[in-house]
């Protein structure tokens, strides 16, 4: 892809005037930057500007009145705030459990579905949960487990328990609802990607292995899975990003409770900022999260996307 023979204006060759040619040459050099610039500027408005704003704000106490500079005060408070550490821990625990479950289930489903004659039908059925608005999914689970207590009733009917289940007073039961809702809605995301990867693999290698007497399982384990590694990495990263920013389900189903046991970092920032109007403090939490995001992006995401491209 050499740029030297590209002409930005079709008429450049025919222009005999030297200044014109020089100008068009400079235009040629800057042309690709000009094309990409609007998108980059637009994105900077929602990433760079807010990033700087949050960093500045994190050094002030911002509540209703004017900003009061307090140095690292917000960060010191954050360091000793067990709710902040709890939110980090909750995000990590719920996120990693949900992500692991989704990945294993999606791999298993893809393994059985990709050579099934009705793979298209399975794909459409499995897609259904993903196409509901997340707020709607949150309400399905809120109603099913908490408000209408259908789940408890079903368990009583088949005789597994003989009373109501107090979901709202148990941290792990509340977490389980959030995890289940996420697994239900988003396993298809991974499934769709994994099936596509399995269908795209070299059939001849597969055929040859099968003629040698290899079982489907060993083909999957020894040939397909290694081939899928970069795809799995990309898919898990994309899903991982969305899981760590989990907000909607927490907002609708548990409001972070009981005892802040399901409060994610996104909900922590929302609560301190928009419920207690402690904007400076919320910004300091945002900055910590921003730093973590940048580190992970540079270390993990860059590598995964580059290797998936090759």
């Amino acid at each position: 892809m050499s740029t030297t023979n590209l002409s930005a204006t079709g008429a450049a060759q025919s222009a005999p005037v030297r200044t014109y040619r020089r100008r068009s040459k400079r235009l040629k050099k800057w042309f690709p930057y000009l094309l990409v610039a609007p998108a980059v500027i637009y994105l900077m408005m929602i990433t760079l500007y807010p990033g700087i704003y949050a960093i500045v704000q994190s050094f002030y106490a911002v509540k209703f009145g004017p900003w009061q500079p307090i140095g690292f005060g917000n960060y010191e408070r954050l360091w000793g705030d067990y709710q902040f550490w709890g939110a980090l821990w909750n995000t990590f625990v719920m996120g990693s459990i949900a992500l692991t479950l989704q990945c294993v289930i999606a791999l298993a489903l893809a393994f059985y579905a990709y050579r099934d004659p009705w793979v298209k039908g399975w794909r459409i059925i499995f897609l259904v949960p993903m196409l509901f608005m997340p707020s709607a999914v949150a309400f399905i689970y809120k109603l099913f487990f908490l408000d209408a207590r259908v789940f408890a009733d079903l368990l009583i009917r088949i005789g597994l328990i003989d009373g109501n289940i107090a979901f709202q007073s148990s941290i792990w039961m509340s977490r389980s609802i959030l995890i289940l809702a996420d697994v239900w809605q988003w396993t298809p995301f991974l499934f769709i990607i994994f099936v596509a990867a399995l269908q795209g693999q070299d059939e001849e290698v597969e055929e040859a292995a099968r003629l040698d007497g290899a079982s489907w399982w060993s083909i999957f384990w020894n040939i397909s899975l290694p081939m899928m590694k970069p795809v799995i990495a990309v898919a898990l990263i994309l899903r991982g990003i969305d899981i760590t920013t989990m907000f909607t389900n927490v907002f609708i189903i548990t409001k972070g409770g009981p005892a802040f046991g399901t409060e994610t970092i996104s909900y922590f920032i929302y609560r301190t900022g928009f419920k207690f109007f402690d904007f400076g403090y919320a910004s300091s939490a945002s900055v910590i999260m921003l730093i973590l995001t940048i580190i992970i992006a540079q270390l993990v995401v860059k590598r995964a996307f580059v290797s998936a491209k090759e």
Binding site: Y42, G51, Y53, L109, F126, W184, A235, I241, S266, I269
Partner: protein, 281 residues
Amino acid sequence: MASQRRKSRSESLTLRYAILGGWALFCLMPVLWFLSIGFRPRTEIITAQPIYWPTFSLDAFWMIFEDWPMWKYLRNSVLAIIGSVLIDLVLAIPAAYSLSRYTYRGRDDIGFYILSTRMMAPAIVAIPIFFLFRNAGLLDSVWALMLIYAAINLSFVTWIIRSYMMDIPKELEDAAKTDGAGDLRILWEIIIPAILPGIITASVIAMIFAINEFLFTLLIASTPNAYTMSVALANFTGGSDGLIYNAIALVAFLAFVPVFIVVVAIQKHLSRGLTMGAVKG
């Protein structure tokens, strides 16, 4: 020997359909149950004993159109989504063209920067964005939603379109170039028609994310003036009566049906779109 092999084959088929069928049930049962919520009277939703065979009722249907400005929510959603997708395409197509067709210093870093904006948690930027829009007097308006949805989806759309552009053989362009066509004309007359499936895929995925968006909409749309379907759902409360679940369920299905139809239509391209082009399905 042969019969044994056939037996193990049929056993694995049973297992296969048990697993796939089981998951299909797990996917569909909550959906069907929620549909039944949408078509029952409010008195049969939250009861001492759950009711599994409710009486059929269209209460919720009349309620969402008579008690709430449903058309307004719908209009807000549609305006914000279509506007944001258009903004995205106008910005993303030239950017993707630049990233896929030229070599220049910093290209890969620019590409990665665009990609990395996808990783920003909405909560990180929520507070500054809130103040930005407040100072610009854009709170509570569909325009603000349009701008923010466009920003959220821009990285996705750019990378999907870029991936499709990379697939176009160079010869196609070279032929046009020897005919004296300029770069922009090549983009408009050759590249864009050739990657139309990619553009449609990117638009559909952007549309889904825009419909789903919750946190920003919650913050920016503080009154029903700018509510979209997604946030309107969370506000279907009848004051002391609590949540009005049959209305919620019906609106959920109202938003689901068009999305489902569009997604089934682009099924073939879905995996490629969802991975921003990293998987060529």
